[in-house]
Symmetry: C2
Subunit: 235 residues, 2 copies
Amino acid sequence: MVYQLYYWPTIPGRGEFVRLALEEAQAQYVDVARTRNGTRAMMKLMKEAATPSFAPPFLAAGDQVIGQTANILLFLGGAHGLAPRAQAGRLWVHQLQLTIADLVAEVHDTHHPISSSLYYEDQKKEAKKRAAAFLAERVPKYFEYFEGVLARVGKGGYLNGAKLTYADLSMFQVIEGLRYAFPKAMARIEPGYPRLAALRELVAARPNIAAYLASKRRIPFNEEGIFRHYPELDV
Amino acid sequence: MVYQLYYWPTIPGRGEFVRLALEEAQAQYVDVARTRNGTRAMMKLMKEAATPSFAPPFLAAGDQVIGQTANILLFLGGAHGLAPRAQAGRLWVHQLQLTIADLVAEVHDTHHPISSSLYYEDQKKEAKKRAAAFLAERVPKYFEYFEGVLARVGKGGYLNGAKLTYADLSMFQVIEGLRYAFPKAMARIEPGYPRLAALRELVAARPNIAAYLASKRRIPFNEEGIFRHYPELDV
């Protein structure tokens, strides 16, 4: 099976959570929008699939088209051993992923607190307020939660214990993204959460992930994506 | 099996999406935080469960504690016939639910665009801007998407065709909530989406749902929840 991943071609964004899972699993995939006329094909399939998507990313697996990042990972986790087989474990990992998704949505809103269709410059004043609250309250709250999960499961260092799941890959990406967007604030916040920092190292050191990160397939963070570095928001 | 639902006792909020599924399925459940000392029990289990939750709602099913609204519905959908049995259909309905969850998060941010820990009154100016953008752009975009899904699946009137799923129950709740929060704007917007209005009617007329809505178990919308009626935001 060769998957087709559909996501915006120039940003890591939400597509990156899917890419990391595909890369770790060494699944074969085409990153469609990065091919010729790929973005046009994406917009067409998004609307015309039997199961249309509200927004990218979505993944075609044969005839099936699956949308919503966490839902794609639920599918890939089952198909490629990136989640427990038993239902209870599968739901637990999905719960973690959905909590990560909530955090990611809050990251986006630090630079777009009023409207996605306005430029950042037109909501910069509000963005400063929202980013300050996000860094002071929300990041510590989420990190405390995930650090607690890591402390509870104990040995192994992954969120579900000894074995990596797609939620670990996503947590890695969130930490990378937050470091990119808010280097000063993260330098202050991160030392309080050593298990999360260790998880990031574990993921980065996995051979498939390390090879991917060093490749051209990995799109650098930039100011069009979810994790944006605006120095004035990094307080 | 008697489930224990854990959610804030005085608001419909995200717990209501779970309640609607439990009620439609005629599942037995205790709404724990609405019992004596229940909120204290909720806060304790939230942190101390083997699978802790970031926030309510969560559902105890025997020894298993499941968090994240859409994840609880994924579980209940499988256990009570509120979702297709085959994987492709199950993922499709979950995709719809996750898109509804995104919309619900945006509703919350209309009255809290800067920070959840500030009072509404302290972010009212920003709330007016965000609510205006939400009603002008986001509600029509989401409604167009779901109206398109209903048009595509055709006969039956439910999001997945002839048979009700938990996503229909959630869509009903979103429409009810938006009508409560933004009556003027919804009176203007809704006529453009007749299939969604018909879906709302179909769900409201289901015997188990109708009985539930008429009961004291149904918590009225209010200004502590996600869907709040602030006339100044209803433009």
